[in-house]
Protein backbone atom coordinates (compact mmCIF):
# COMPACT_ATOMS: atom_id res chain seq x y z
CA UNK A 1 0.00 0.00 0.00
CA UNK A 2 3.03 2.17 0.40
CA UNK A 3 3.55 1.79 -3.28
CA UNK A 4 0.19 3.20 -4.07
CA UNK A 5 0.64 6.36 -2.02
CA UNK A 6 4.12 6.74 -3.33
CA UNK A 7 2.90 6.52 -6.87
CA UNK A 8 0.09 8.91 -6.18
CA UNK A 9 2.66 11.51 -5.25
CA UNK A 10 4.29 11.00 -8.55
CA UNK A 11 1.10 11.47 -10.48
CA UNK A 12 1.65 15.08 -11.61
CA UNK A 13 4.37 13.89 -13.89
CA UNK A 14 2.42 13.02 -16.94
CA UNK A 15 4.89 11.15 -18.98
CA UNK A 16 6.30 7.90 -17.70
CA UNK A 17 9.60 9.40 -16.81
CA UNK A 18 9.55 8.27 -13.25
CA UNK A 19 13.17 7.55 -13.29
CA UNK A 20 15.12 4.41 -13.03
CA UNK A 21 13.56 3.50 -9.73
CA UNK A 22 10.09 2.65 -11.01
CA UNK A 23 10.73 -0.89 -12.24
CA UNK A 24 12.43 -1.68 -8.97
CA UNK A 25 9.44 -0.41 -7.05
CA UNK A 26 7.27 -2.73 -9.09
CA UNK A 27 9.41 -5.73 -8.37
CA UNK A 28 10.18 -4.85 -4.76
CA UNK A 29 7.39 -6.91 -3.14
CA UNK A 30 8.29 -9.79 -5.38
CA UNK A 31 11.90 -9.60 -4.29
CA UNK A 32 10.84 -9.51 -0.65
CA UNK A 33 8.83 -12.71 -1.10
CA UNK A 34 11.58 -14.42 -3.01
CA UNK A 35 14.08 -13.47 -0.38
CA UNK A 36 12.09 -15.04 2.42
CA UNK A 37 10.76 -18.13 0.71
CA UNK A 38 13.46 -18.91 -1.82
CA UNK A 39 16.79 -17.16 -1.48
CA UNK A 40 17.17 -17.58 2.26
CA UNK A 41 16.05 -21.23 2.38
CA UNK A 42 18.19 -22.06 -0.59
CA UNK A 43 21.19 -20.44 1.07
CA UNK A 44 20.51 -22.30 4.31
CA UNK A 45 20.06 -25.56 2.43
CA UNK A 46 23.29 -25.13 0.53
CA UNK A 47 25.13 -24.38 3.72
CA UNK A 48 23.44 -27.33 5.39
CA UNK A 49 24.79 -29.59 2.66
CA UNK A 50 28.25 -28.96 4.06
CA UNK A 51 27.30 -29.82 7.60
CA UNK A 52 26.27 -32.69 9.73
CA UNK A 53 22.81 -31.73 10.82
CA UNK A 54 20.72 -34.31 12.54
CA UNK A 55 17.98 -32.49 14.34
CA UNK A 56 17.42 -28.88 13.58
CA UNK A 57 18.92 -26.10 11.61
CA UNK A 58 20.11 -24.49 14.78
CA UNK A 59 22.55 -27.32 15.33
CA UNK A 60 24.80 -27.78 12.38
CA UNK A 61 28.38 -28.94 12.42
CA UNK A 62 30.49 -27.94 9.45
CA UNK A 63 32.09 -30.97 7.82
CA UNK A 64 33.18 -29.55 4.48
CA UNK A 65 32.74 -31.75 1.44
CA UNK A 66 32.17 -34.90 3.46
CA UNK A 67 28.50 -35.28 2.41
CA UNK A 68 29.37 -34.95 -1.25
CA UNK A 69 32.23 -37.38 -0.97
CA UNK A 70 29.77 -39.79 0.61
CA UNK A 71 27.39 -39.45 -2.33
CA UNK A 72 30.09 -40.34 -4.81
CA UNK A 73 32.01 -42.95 -2.90
CA UNK A 74 30.01 -44.68 -0.22
CA UNK A 75 26.37 -44.24 -1.09
CA UNK A 76 25.14 -47.59 -2.36
CA UNK A 77 21.75 -46.26 -3.41
CA UNK A 78 22.89 -43.26 -5.43
CA UNK A 79 23.37 -45.15 -8.67
CA UNK A 80 19.99 -46.85 -8.42
CA UNK A 81 18.32 -43.58 -7.59
CA UNK A 82 19.86 -41.90 -10.63
CA UNK A 83 18.77 -44.77 -12.84
CA UNK A 84 15.20 -44.70 -11.52
CA UNK A 85 15.08 -40.93 -11.82
CA UNK A 86 16.26 -41.09 -15.43
CA UNK A 87 13.53 -43.61 -16.30
CA UNK A 88 10.97 -41.62 -14.39
CA UNK A 89 11.74 -38.21 -15.83
CA UNK A 90 12.10 -39.38 -19.41
CA UNK A 91 8.99 -41.57 -19.49
CA UNK A 92 6.67 -39.23 -17.68
CA UNK A 93 8.00 -36.37 -19.76
CA UNK A 94 6.80 -38.13 -22.90
CA UNK A 95 3.31 -38.13 -21.45
CA UNK A 96 3.49 -34.65 -20.01
CA UNK A 97 4.95 -32.91 -23.01
CA UNK A 98 3.87 -34.95 -26.03
CA UNK A 99 0.86 -37.03 -25.20
CA UNK A 100 -0.63 -33.90 -23.67
CA UNK A 101 -0.04 -32.18 -27.00
CA UNK A 102 -2.07 -34.82 -28.79
CA UNK A 103 -4.77 -34.51 -26.16
CA UNK A 104 -4.84 -30.74 -26.49
CA UNK A 105 -5.06 -30.74 -30.28
CA UNK A 106 -7.71 -33.43 -30.27
CA UNK A 107 -9.84 -31.81 -27.67
CA UNK A 108 -9.49 -28.30 -29.00
CA UNK A 109 -9.32 -28.76 -32.73
CA UNK A 110 -11.42 -31.86 -33.33
CA UNK A 111 -14.06 -31.79 -30.65
CA UNK A 112 -16.43 -29.15 -31.90
CA UNK A 113 -18.81 -29.00 -28.99
CA UNK A 114 -17.29 -26.68 -26.41
CA UNK A 115 -19.26 -28.22 -23.54
CA UNK A 116 -17.95 -31.69 -24.28
CA UNK A 117 -14.43 -30.35 -24.71
CA UNK A 118 -14.69 -28.62 -21.35
CA UNK A 119 -15.92 -31.75 -19.68
CA UNK A 120 -13.06 -33.78 -21.11
CA UNK A 121 -10.49 -31.21 -20.02
CA UNK A 122 -11.98 -31.13 -16.56
CA UNK A 123 -11.85 -34.91 -16.31
CA UNK A 124 -8.17 -34.82 -17.23
CA UNK A 125 -7.62 -32.29 -14.48
CA UNK A 126 -8.98 -34.55 -11.76
CA UNK A 127 -5.70 -36.34 -10.98
CA UNK A 128 -3.95 -33.02 -10.68
CA UNK A 129 -6.40 -31.38 -8.34
CA UNK A 130 -7.00 -34.38 -6.10
CA UNK A 131 -4.85 -34.25 -2.97
CA UNK A 132 -2.03 -36.79 -3.18
CA UNK A 133 -3.23 -38.91 -0.26
CA UNK A 134 -6.68 -39.38 -1.74
CA UNK A 135 -5.30 -39.92 -5.20
CA UNK A 136 -3.06 -42.65 -3.78
CA UNK A 137 -5.99 -44.21 -1.98
CA UNK A 138 -7.98 -44.35 -5.21
CA UNK A 139 -5.08 -45.94 -7.06
CA UNK A 140 -4.62 -48.51 -4.32
CA UNK A 141 -8.16 -49.58 -4.84
CA UNK A 142 -7.85 -49.56 -8.61
CA UNK A 143 -4.75 -51.76 -8.79
CA UNK A 144 -5.69 -54.13 -6.03
CA UNK A 145 -5.35 -57.61 -7.54
CA UNK A 146 -8.23 -58.88 -5.44
CA UNK A 147 -10.85 -56.22 -5.41
CA UNK A 148 -9.68 -53.63 -7.88
CA UNK A 149 -10.94 -53.41 -11.44
CA UNK A 150 -7.59 -53.11 -13.21
CA UNK A 151 -6.63 -56.76 -13.20
CA UNK A 152 -10.17 -57.80 -14.02
CA UNK A 153 -10.08 -55.56 -17.08
CA UNK A 154 -6.66 -56.77 -18.13
CA UNK A 155 -7.76 -60.36 -17.86
CA UNK A 156 -10.87 -59.65 -19.86
CA UNK A 157 -8.64 -58.25 -22.58
CA UNK A 158 -6.37 -61.28 -22.38
CA UNK A 159 -3.44 -59.23 -21.12
CA UNK A 160 -1.07 -60.34 -18.38
CA UNK A 161 -2.20 -59.18 -14.96
CA UNK A 162 0.46 -59.29 -12.25
CA UNK A 163 -0.48 -60.56 -8.83
CA UNK A 164 0.87 -57.37 -7.43
CA UNK A 165 1.39 -53.96 -8.98
CA UNK A 166 3.15 -52.20 -6.17
CA UNK A 167 6.27 -54.26 -5.71
CA UNK A 168 6.86 -56.32 -8.82
CA UNK A 169 9.19 -54.93 -11.42
CA UNK A 170 8.56 -53.81 -14.11
CA UNK A 171 4.91 -53.28 -13.12
CA UNK A 172 5.79 -51.03 -10.20
CA UNK A 173 7.63 -48.69 -12.54
CA UNK A 174 4.80 -48.76 -15.06
CA UNK A 175 2.52 -47.80 -12.22
CA UNK A 176 4.85 -45.00 -11.16
CA UNK A 177 4.85 -43.63 -14.71
CA UNK A 178 1.08 -43.91 -15.07
CA UNK A 179 0.28 -42.33 -11.73
CA UNK A 180 2.50 -39.35 -12.39
CA UNK A 181 1.65 -39.16 -16.07
CA UNK A 182 -2.01 -38.64 -15.25
CA UNK A 183 -1.07 -35.84 -12.90
CA UNK A 184 1.25 -34.17 -15.37
CA UNK A 185 -0.72 -34.50 -18.59
CA UNK A 186 -3.15 -31.74 -17.73
CA UNK A 187 -0.48 -29.06 -17.38
CA UNK A 188 0.65 -29.38 -20.97
CA UNK A 189 -2.93 -29.90 -22.07
CA UNK A 190 -4.02 -26.55 -20.67
CA UNK A 191 -1.13 -24.62 -22.12
CA UNK A 192 -1.38 -26.23 -25.53
CA UNK A 193 -5.14 -25.91 -25.60
CA UNK A 194 -4.87 -22.23 -24.84
CA UNK A 195 -2.36 -21.86 -27.64
CA UNK A 196 -4.50 -23.75 -30.15
CA UNK A 197 -7.53 -21.68 -29.20
CA UNK A 198 -5.60 -18.51 -29.85
CA UNK A 199 -4.76 -19.48 -33.41
CA UNK A 200 -6.99 -17.43 -35.70
CA UNK A 201 -9.67 -19.69 -37.17
CA UNK A 202 -9.16 -18.12 -40.62
CA UNK A 203 -5.94 -20.05 -40.94
CA UNK A 204 -7.80 -23.35 -40.65
CA UNK A 205 -10.55 -22.27 -43.03
CA UNK A 206 -8.06 -21.12 -45.60
CA UNK A 207 -6.21 -24.39 -45.39
CA UNK A 208 -9.44 -26.37 -45.68
CA UNK A 209 -10.41 -24.41 -48.76
CA UNK A 210 -7.03 -25.33 -50.19
CA UNK A 211 -7.96 -28.94 -49.58
CA UNK A 212 -5.75 -29.72 -46.60
CA UNK A 213 -6.70 -32.64 -44.43
CA UNK A 214 -7.05 -32.31 -40.67
CA UNK A 215 -3.82 -34.16 -40.24
CA UNK A 216 -2.04 -31.76 -42.55
CA UNK A 217 -3.47 -28.82 -40.66
CA UNK A 218 -2.11 -30.24 -37.44
CA UNK A 219 1.23 -31.02 -38.94
CA UNK A 220 1.79 -27.84 -40.93
CA UNK A 221 -0.14 -25.15 -39.11
CA UNK A 222 -0.65 -26.05 -35.47
CA UNK A 223 2.62 -27.76 -34.66
CA UNK A 224 4.93 -25.03 -36.00
CA UNK A 225 2.94 -22.40 -34.13
CA UNK A 226 3.21 -24.40 -30.95
CA UNK A 227 6.96 -24.84 -31.17
CA UNK A 228 7.72 -22.51 -28.29
CA UNK A 229 5.00 -23.95 -26.18
CA UNK A 230 6.42 -27.42 -26.62
CA UNK A 231 9.86 -26.19 -25.67
CA UNK A 232 8.47 -24.46 -22.66
CA UNK A 233 6.35 -27.35 -21.43
CA UNK A 234 9.17 -29.83 -21.99
CA UNK A 235 11.73 -27.89 -20.03
CA UNK A 236 9.37 -26.77 -17.30
CA UNK A 237 8.04 -30.27 -16.79
CA UNK A 238 11.49 -31.81 -16.89
CA UNK A 239 12.44 -29.63 -13.97
CA UNK A 240 9.19 -30.31 -12.16
CA UNK A 241 9.62 -34.04 -12.53
CA UNK A 242 13.19 -33.97 -11.42
CA UNK A 243 12.18 -32.63 -8.04
CA UNK A 244 8.80 -34.29 -7.62
CA UNK A 245 8.22 -37.24 -5.35
CA UNK A 246 5.02 -36.81 -3.40
CA UNK A 247 2.79 -39.08 -5.42
CA UNK A 248 5.33 -41.87 -5.21
CA UNK A 249 5.64 -41.33 -1.48
CA UNK A 250 1.88 -41.33 -1.04
CA UNK A 251 1.25 -44.46 -3.08
CA UNK A 252 4.11 -46.57 -1.77
CA UNK A 253 3.52 -45.22 1.71
CA UNK A 254 7.09 -45.02 2.87
CA UNK A 255 10.57 -44.73 1.55
CA UNK A 256 11.60 -48.30 2.39
CA UNK A 257 8.83 -49.78 0.29
CA UNK A 258 9.49 -47.43 -2.60
CA UNK A 259 13.11 -48.53 -2.61
CA UNK A 260 12.21 -52.19 -2.64
CA UNK A 261 9.73 -51.54 -5.44
CA UNK A 262 12.43 -49.88 -7.51
CA UNK A 263 10.64 -46.53 -7.65
CA UNK A 264 12.73 -44.48 -5.27
CA UNK A 265 13.58 -41.40 -7.30
CA UNK A 266 16.35 -39.06 -6.25
CA UNK A 267 14.06 -36.43 -4.75
CA UNK A 268 12.32 -39.07 -2.65
CA UNK A 269 15.67 -40.43 -1.57
CA UNK A 270 16.69 -36.97 -0.39
CA UNK A 271 13.38 -36.56 1.40
CA UNK A 272 13.65 -39.88 3.18
CA UNK A 273 17.22 -39.18 4.27
CA UNK A 274 16.14 -35.88 5.74
CA UNK A 275 12.78 -36.67 7.25
CA UNK A 276 12.81 -40.38 8.01
CA UNK A 277 16.38 -40.92 9.07
CA UNK A 278 16.83 -37.34 10.31
CA UNK A 279 20.02 -36.90 8.34
CA UNK A 280 19.19 -33.38 7.25
CA UNK A 281 22.72 -32.49 6.25
CA UNK A 282 22.99 -35.43 3.90
CA UNK A 283 19.47 -34.88 2.59
CA UNK A 284 20.45 -31.30 1.81
CA UNK A 285 23.57 -32.47 0.00
CA UNK A 286 21.47 -34.86 -2.07
CA UNK A 287 19.12 -32.05 -3.03
CA UNK A 288 21.95 -29.72 -3.88
CA UNK A 289 23.17 -32.42 -6.21
CA UNK A 290 19.70 -32.53 -7.73
CA UNK A 291 19.69 -28.77 -8.12
CA UNK A 292 23.03 -28.98 -9.92
CA UNK A 293 21.49 -31.39 -12.40
CA UNK A 294 18.48 -29.08 -12.71
CA UNK A 295 20.73 -26.14 -13.50
CA UNK A 296 22.50 -28.18 -16.15
CA UNK A 297 19.08 -28.94 -17.63
CA UNK A 298 18.26 -25.26 -17.67
CA UNK A 299 21.50 -24.26 -19.33
CA UNK A 300 20.90 -26.99 -21.85
CA UNK A 301 17.41 -25.70 -22.59
CA UNK A 302 18.61 -22.14 -22.83
CA UNK A 303 21.20 -23.12 -25.39
CA UNK A 304 19.41 -25.80 -27.40
CA UNK A 305 15.94 -24.35 -27.49
CA UNK A 306 17.12 -20.77 -27.72
CA UNK A 307 15.05 -20.24 -24.64
CA UNK A 308 16.45 -16.81 -24.17
CA UNK A 309 14.26 -15.45 -26.90
CA UNK A 310 11.39 -15.81 -24.49
CA UNK A 311 13.07 -13.33 -22.27
CA UNK A 312 12.77 -10.50 -24.74
CA UNK A 313 10.01 -8.02 -24.15
CA UNK A 314 7.29 -8.27 -26.72
CA UNK A 315 7.68 -4.65 -27.67
CA UNK A 316 10.68 -2.52 -27.19
CA UNK A 317 10.14 0.29 -24.79
CA UNK A 318 10.50 3.76 -26.19
Amino acid sequence: MEIRSFLRKLRPRRMPRLGRALPYIYIAPFMAYILITWIAPVAITIYMAFTECRWTVTRMRFIGLENFIRIFTRDIYAVDAIYVTAIYVSSVLVINAFFSLILAIFVTYFVGNETIASAIRLAWLIPRITPAVIYALMWRWFIDPRIGPLNAMLKALGLPAPSDWLLTLPYSRLLMIAVNGYVGASFGMIIYSAAVVSIPKDLFYAAKVDGASDFQICRHIILPLLKWHIFFVTSWQALSLLSSYEHILALWAGAGTARAAGVEVWALYAYSKAFYTSDYGYGAALSVFLVAIGIIFILFFFKVFGFERMMQPSRVEV
Binding site: M15, P23, F106, P149, L150, L225, F231, S244, M310, V316
Partner: protein, 295 residues
Protein backbone atom coordinates in the same frame (compact mmCIF):
# COMPACT_ATOMS: atom_id res chain seq x y z
CA UNK B 1 -2.30 -33.35 -53.29
CA UNK B 2 -3.51 -36.01 -55.62
CA UNK B 3 -7.00 -36.03 -56.90
CA UNK B 4 -9.17 -37.92 -54.50
CA UNK B 5 -12.24 -39.75 -55.60
CA UNK B 6 -14.77 -40.07 -52.96
CA UNK B 7 -18.38 -40.61 -52.40
CA UNK B 8 -20.26 -38.69 -49.76
CA UNK B 9 -20.84 -41.90 -47.89
CA UNK B 10 -17.22 -42.85 -47.74
CA UNK B 11 -16.33 -39.41 -46.52
CA UNK B 12 -18.91 -39.73 -43.78
CA UNK B 13 -17.52 -43.04 -42.66
CA UNK B 14 -14.03 -41.65 -42.70
CA UNK B 15 -15.14 -38.67 -40.65
CA UNK B 16 -16.87 -40.96 -38.21
CA UNK B 17 -13.82 -43.17 -37.86
CA UNK B 18 -11.68 -40.15 -37.35
CA UNK B 19 -13.87 -38.85 -34.58
CA UNK B 20 -14.04 -42.32 -33.05
CA UNK B 21 -10.27 -42.36 -32.95
CA UNK B 22 -10.13 -38.88 -31.47
CA UNK B 23 -12.60 -39.76 -28.75
CA UNK B 24 -10.87 -43.03 -28.06
CA UNK B 25 -7.56 -41.27 -27.43
CA UNK B 26 -9.25 -38.67 -25.28
CA UNK B 27 -11.50 -40.94 -23.28
CA UNK B 28 -10.05 -44.43 -23.00
CA UNK B 29 -7.15 -43.35 -20.77
CA UNK B 30 -9.68 -41.53 -18.64
CA UNK B 31 -11.48 -44.74 -17.73
CA UNK B 32 -9.33 -45.46 -14.64
CA UNK B 33 -9.69 -41.92 -13.35
CA UNK B 34 -13.43 -41.93 -13.80
CA UNK B 35 -13.73 -45.32 -12.16
CA UNK B 36 -11.74 -44.10 -9.19
CA UNK B 37 -13.92 -41.05 -8.78
CA UNK B 38 -17.00 -43.21 -9.14
CA UNK B 39 -15.67 -45.50 -6.42
CA UNK B 40 -15.06 -42.57 -4.13
CA UNK B 41 -18.58 -41.37 -4.75
CA UNK B 42 -20.14 -44.79 -4.24
CA UNK B 43 -18.15 -45.25 -1.05
CA UNK B 44 -19.39 -41.93 0.26
CA UNK B 45 -23.04 -42.87 -0.06
CA UNK B 46 -22.62 -46.50 0.90
CA UNK B 47 -23.83 -47.67 4.29
CA UNK B 48 -20.98 -50.16 4.70
CA UNK B 49 -17.47 -50.28 3.29
CA UNK B 50 -17.58 -51.45 -0.28
CA UNK B 51 -14.73 -52.48 -2.48
CA UNK B 52 -16.64 -52.61 -5.72
CA UNK B 53 -18.71 -50.02 -7.47
CA UNK B 54 -21.98 -51.14 -5.93
CA UNK B 55 -22.89 -49.45 -2.64
CA UNK B 56 -23.90 -51.56 0.33
CA UNK B 57 -27.08 -49.76 1.03
CA UNK B 58 -27.46 -46.09 0.30
CA UNK B 59 -27.15 -43.56 3.07
CA UNK B 60 -26.32 -39.95 3.67
CA UNK B 61 -24.87 -40.61 7.09
CA UNK B 62 -21.32 -40.39 5.78
CA UNK B 63 -21.97 -36.75 5.14
CA UNK B 64 -23.15 -36.21 8.68
CA UNK B 65 -19.96 -34.28 9.40
CA UNK B 66 -21.54 -31.40 7.53
CA UNK B 67 -24.17 -30.87 10.17
CA UNK B 68 -23.21 -32.73 13.30
CA UNK B 69 -20.35 -33.17 15.72
CA UNK B 70 -17.32 -35.16 14.61
CA UNK B 71 -15.34 -37.39 16.92
CA UNK B 72 -11.99 -39.09 16.57
CA UNK B 73 -11.16 -40.86 19.77
CA UNK B 74 -10.99 -37.93 22.13
CA UNK B 75 -10.80 -35.17 19.57
CA UNK B 76 -14.10 -33.58 19.05
CA UNK B 77 -14.99 -31.09 16.41
CA UNK B 78 -18.36 -29.54 17.19
CA UNK B 79 -18.81 -28.72 13.53
CA UNK B 80 -16.73 -28.75 10.41
CA UNK B 81 -17.48 -25.22 9.32
CA UNK B 82 -14.80 -23.43 11.37
CA UNK B 83 -12.31 -25.81 9.77
CA UNK B 84 -13.65 -24.95 6.34
CA UNK B 85 -13.34 -21.33 7.34
CA UNK B 86 -9.66 -21.83 8.23
CA UNK B 87 -9.04 -23.43 4.88
CA UNK B 88 -10.76 -20.52 3.20
CA UNK B 89 -8.67 -18.01 5.13
CA UNK B 90 -5.56 -19.87 4.11
CA UNK B 91 -6.55 -20.24 0.47
CA UNK B 92 -7.85 -16.69 0.09
CA UNK B 93 -4.81 -15.43 1.98
CA UNK B 94 -2.47 -17.09 -0.47
CA UNK B 95 -4.47 -15.63 -3.34
CA UNK B 96 -4.45 -12.14 -1.87
CA UNK B 97 -0.73 -12.19 -1.12
CA UNK B 98 0.28 -13.77 -4.37
CA UNK B 99 -1.73 -12.34 -7.23
CA UNK B 100 -1.14 -8.57 -6.88
CA UNK B 101 2.58 -9.10 -6.48
CA UNK B 102 2.72 -11.39 -9.48
CA UNK B 103 0.74 -8.88 -11.51
CA UNK B 104 3.10 -6.04 -10.62
CA UNK B 105 6.20 -8.02 -11.35
CA UNK B 106 4.79 -9.61 -14.46
CA UNK B 107 4.06 -6.14 -15.76
CA UNK B 108 7.53 -4.88 -14.95
CA UNK B 109 9.14 -7.84 -16.66
CA UNK B 110 6.99 -7.46 -19.72
CA UNK B 111 6.98 -3.71 -20.11
CA UNK B 112 9.97 -2.17 -18.48
CA UNK B 113 13.58 -2.13 -19.35
CA UNK B 114 15.81 -2.29 -16.32
CA UNK B 115 19.09 -3.63 -15.24
CA UNK B 116 18.78 -7.20 -14.07
CA UNK B 117 15.57 -7.89 -15.95
CA UNK B 118 16.86 -10.87 -17.89
CA UNK B 119 18.72 -12.09 -14.85
CA UNK B 120 15.50 -11.99 -12.87
CA UNK B 121 13.68 -13.99 -15.49
CA UNK B 122 16.44 -16.54 -15.51
CA UNK B 123 16.26 -16.67 -11.76
CA UNK B 124 12.56 -17.42 -11.91
CA UNK B 125 13.23 -20.40 -14.12
CA UNK B 126 16.20 -21.46 -12.05
CA UNK B 127 14.15 -21.42 -8.84
CA UNK B 128 12.05 -24.09 -10.43
CA UNK B 129 15.04 -26.42 -10.20
CA UNK B 130 15.00 -26.33 -6.42
CA UNK B 131 13.06 -29.16 -4.93
CA UNK B 132 10.50 -27.80 -2.53
CA UNK B 133 11.09 -30.83 -0.33
CA UNK B 134 14.33 -29.92 1.12
CA UNK B 135 13.63 -26.24 1.39
CA UNK B 136 11.07 -27.31 3.97
CA UNK B 137 13.65 -27.68 6.70
CA UNK B 138 15.05 -24.25 6.03
CA UNK B 139 11.56 -22.82 5.69
CA UNK B 140 10.70 -24.24 9.08
CA UNK B 141 13.66 -22.40 10.49
CA UNK B 142 12.60 -19.15 8.86
CA UNK B 143 9.03 -19.49 10.08
CA UNK B 144 10.39 -19.94 13.57
CA UNK B 145 12.59 -16.91 13.15
CA UNK B 146 9.55 -14.91 12.14
CA UNK B 147 7.98 -16.06 15.39
CA UNK B 148 5.04 -17.64 13.64
CA UNK B 149 4.82 -20.83 15.66
CA UNK B 150 1.48 -21.53 17.32
CA UNK B 151 0.00 -18.06 16.92
CA UNK B 152 -3.36 -19.26 15.62
CA UNK B 153 -4.73 -16.94 13.01
CA UNK B 154 -1.41 -15.19 12.63
CA UNK B 155 0.21 -18.53 11.84
CA UNK B 156 -2.42 -19.22 9.21
CA UNK B 157 -1.59 -15.90 7.64
CA UNK B 158 2.12 -16.65 7.92
CA UNK B 159 1.62 -19.97 6.17
CA UNK B 160 -0.35 -18.16 3.48
CA UNK B 161 2.54 -15.72 3.05
CA UNK B 162 5.07 -18.52 2.64
CA UNK B 163 2.85 -20.37 0.20
CA UNK B 164 2.38 -17.16 -1.74
CA UNK B 165 6.13 -16.69 -1.89
CA UNK B 166 6.59 -20.23 -3.17
CA UNK B 167 4.00 -19.75 -5.89
CA UNK B 168 4.80 -16.26 -7.00
CA UNK B 169 7.58 -17.02 -9.53
CA UNK B 170 5.34 -19.25 -11.63
CA UNK B 171 2.46 -16.77 -11.48
CA UNK B 172 4.70 -13.92 -12.47
CA UNK B 173 5.81 -15.90 -15.44
CA UNK B 174 2.22 -16.59 -16.50
CA UNK B 175 1.12 -12.99 -16.10
CA UNK B 176 4.15 -11.73 -17.97
CA UNK B 177 2.88 -13.85 -20.85
CA UNK B 178 -0.48 -12.12 -20.65
CA UNK B 179 1.05 -8.65 -20.56
CA UNK B 180 3.19 -9.57 -23.54
CA UNK B 181 0.01 -10.21 -25.46
CA UNK B 182 -1.36 -6.70 -25.03
CA UNK B 183 -0.50 -4.24 -27.79
CA UNK B 184 1.82 -1.58 -26.52
CA UNK B 185 -0.22 1.09 -28.31
CA UNK B 186 -3.06 0.63 -25.87
CA UNK B 187 -0.92 1.52 -22.93
CA UNK B 188 0.68 4.33 -24.79
CA UNK B 189 -2.68 5.85 -25.58
CA UNK B 190 -3.70 5.70 -21.94
CA UNK B 191 -0.59 7.47 -20.87
CA UNK B 192 -1.06 10.19 -23.42
CA UNK B 193 -4.53 10.65 -21.94
CA UNK B 194 -2.81 11.56 -18.71
CA UNK B 195 -2.78 8.34 -16.81
CA UNK B 196 0.25 7.64 -14.69
CA UNK B 197 2.07 4.41 -15.27
CA UNK B 198 0.47 2.87 -12.21
CA UNK B 199 -2.98 4.03 -13.27
CA UNK B 200 -2.47 2.59 -16.70
CA UNK B 201 -1.49 -0.68 -15.16
CA UNK B 202 -4.48 -0.77 -12.90
CA UNK B 203 -7.20 0.74 -15.02
CA UNK B 204 -6.27 -0.30 -18.52
CA UNK B 205 -4.10 -3.36 -18.42
CA UNK B 206 -5.45 -5.32 -15.49
CA UNK B 207 -8.98 -5.52 -16.91
CA UNK B 208 -7.56 -6.83 -20.15
CA UNK B 209 -5.60 -9.56 -18.46
CA UNK B 210 -8.47 -10.47 -16.15
CA UNK B 211 -8.48 -14.03 -17.49
CA UNK B 212 -4.82 -14.37 -16.58
CA UNK B 213 -5.46 -12.92 -13.14
CA UNK B 214 -8.22 -15.38 -12.50
CA UNK B 215 -6.07 -18.25 -13.73
CA UNK B 216 -3.27 -17.49 -11.30
CA UNK B 217 -5.85 -16.77 -8.62
CA UNK B 218 -7.15 -20.30 -9.06
CA UNK B 219 -3.67 -21.76 -8.86
CA UNK B 220 -2.98 -19.73 -5.73
CA UNK B 221 -6.27 -20.68 -4.14
CA UNK B 222 -5.59 -24.31 -4.86
CA UNK B 223 -2.13 -24.26 -3.35
CA UNK B 224 -3.54 -22.73 -0.17
CA UNK B 225 -6.45 -25.12 -0.08
CA UNK B 226 -4.14 -28.11 -0.46
CA UNK B 227 -1.42 -27.05 1.99
CA UNK B 228 -0.79 -29.62 4.66
CA UNK B 229 2.69 -30.02 6.07
CA UNK B 230 3.51 -26.46 7.10
CA UNK B 231 0.06 -25.96 8.53
CA UNK B 232 0.24 -29.23 10.42
CA UNK B 233 3.65 -28.44 11.83
CA UNK B 234 3.12 -24.84 12.80
CA UNK B 235 -0.46 -24.62 13.89
CA UNK B 236 -0.65 -25.55 17.51
CA UNK B 237 -4.31 -25.54 18.33
CA UNK B 238 -6.80 -27.60 16.47
CA UNK B 239 -9.27 -24.73 16.29
CA UNK B 240 -7.03 -23.35 13.60
CA UNK B 241 -6.51 -26.52 11.60
CA UNK B 242 -7.41 -26.31 7.96
CA UNK B 243 -9.35 -29.00 6.14
CA UNK B 244 -6.23 -30.76 4.89
CA UNK B 245 -5.01 -31.44 8.41
CA UNK B 246 -8.49 -32.54 9.37
CA UNK B 247 -8.51 -34.96 6.45
CA UNK B 248 -5.18 -36.31 7.62
CA UNK B 249 -6.69 -37.20 10.95
CA UNK B 250 -9.56 -38.92 9.16
CA UNK B 251 -7.26 -40.99 7.04
CA UNK B 252 -5.17 -42.19 9.94
CA UNK B 253 -3.20 -45.27 9.25
CA UNK B 254 -5.68 -46.63 6.71
CA UNK B 255 -6.67 -48.91 9.57
CA UNK B 256 -9.30 -47.44 11.77
CA UNK B 257 -10.78 -45.52 8.97
CA UNK B 258 -14.45 -45.12 8.52
CA UNK B 259 -14.30 -45.47 4.77
CA UNK B 260 -17.61 -43.86 4.07
CA UNK B 261 -16.66 -40.85 6.13
CA UNK B 262 -13.25 -40.67 4.52
CA UNK B 263 -14.73 -40.76 1.03
CA UNK B 264 -17.31 -38.16 1.95
CA UNK B 265 -14.73 -35.81 3.45
CA UNK B 266 -12.45 -36.39 0.47
CA UNK B 267 -15.22 -35.51 -1.96
CA UNK B 268 -16.12 -32.49 0.09
CA UNK B 269 -12.48 -31.45 -0.02
CA UNK B 270 -12.05 -31.85 -3.78
CA UNK B 271 -15.40 -30.43 -4.75
CA UNK B 272 -14.62 -26.71 -4.42
CA UNK B 273 -11.52 -27.09 -6.55
CA UNK B 274 -13.41 -29.08 -9.13
CA UNK B 275 -16.14 -26.47 -9.25
CA UNK B 276 -13.60 -23.70 -9.51
CA UNK B 277 -12.02 -25.37 -12.47
CA UNK B 278 -15.31 -26.15 -14.13
CA UNK B 279 -16.25 -22.50 -13.89
CA UNK B 280 -12.93 -21.24 -15.10
CA UNK B 281 -12.31 -23.43 -18.10
CA UNK B 282 -12.54 -20.54 -20.47
CA UNK B 283 -10.10 -18.58 -18.42
CA UNK B 284 -7.59 -21.36 -18.46
CA UNK B 285 -7.81 -21.46 -22.21
CA UNK B 286 -6.39 -17.98 -22.31
CA UNK B 287 -3.21 -18.93 -20.49
CA UNK B 288 -0.27 -17.76 -22.53
CA UNK B 289 3.03 -18.72 -21.08
CA UNK B 290 5.22 -18.03 -24.01
CA UNK B 291 3.68 -15.04 -25.65
CA UNK B 292 0.71 -14.98 -27.95
CA UNK B 293 0.69 -16.61 -31.30
CA UNK B 294 0.95 -14.10 -34.05
CA UNK B 295 -1.05 -15.44 -36.92
Amino acid sequence: MGEVKYSVRKAKIMALLKMAFVYAVLLVPLVPVLMMVAWLFVQSISAGPTMGLIPRGITLKNFRFLWSEIRFGLSKYPTIWPIVMNSLILALGVTAFEVPVAALTGYALSRMEFRGRVALMKLIIALHAFPGVILLIALFYILNRLGLYGKGLLTLIGVALVKAGLGVPMDTWILKGFFDGIPWELEWAAMIDGCSRFQTWRKVLLPIIAPGISAVAIFAFMSGWGEFLIAYTYIKRKEFYPLSVFLYSVIGEFVFVDWGLLAAVALFYILPILLFYALSQRTLLKLQLVGGIKG
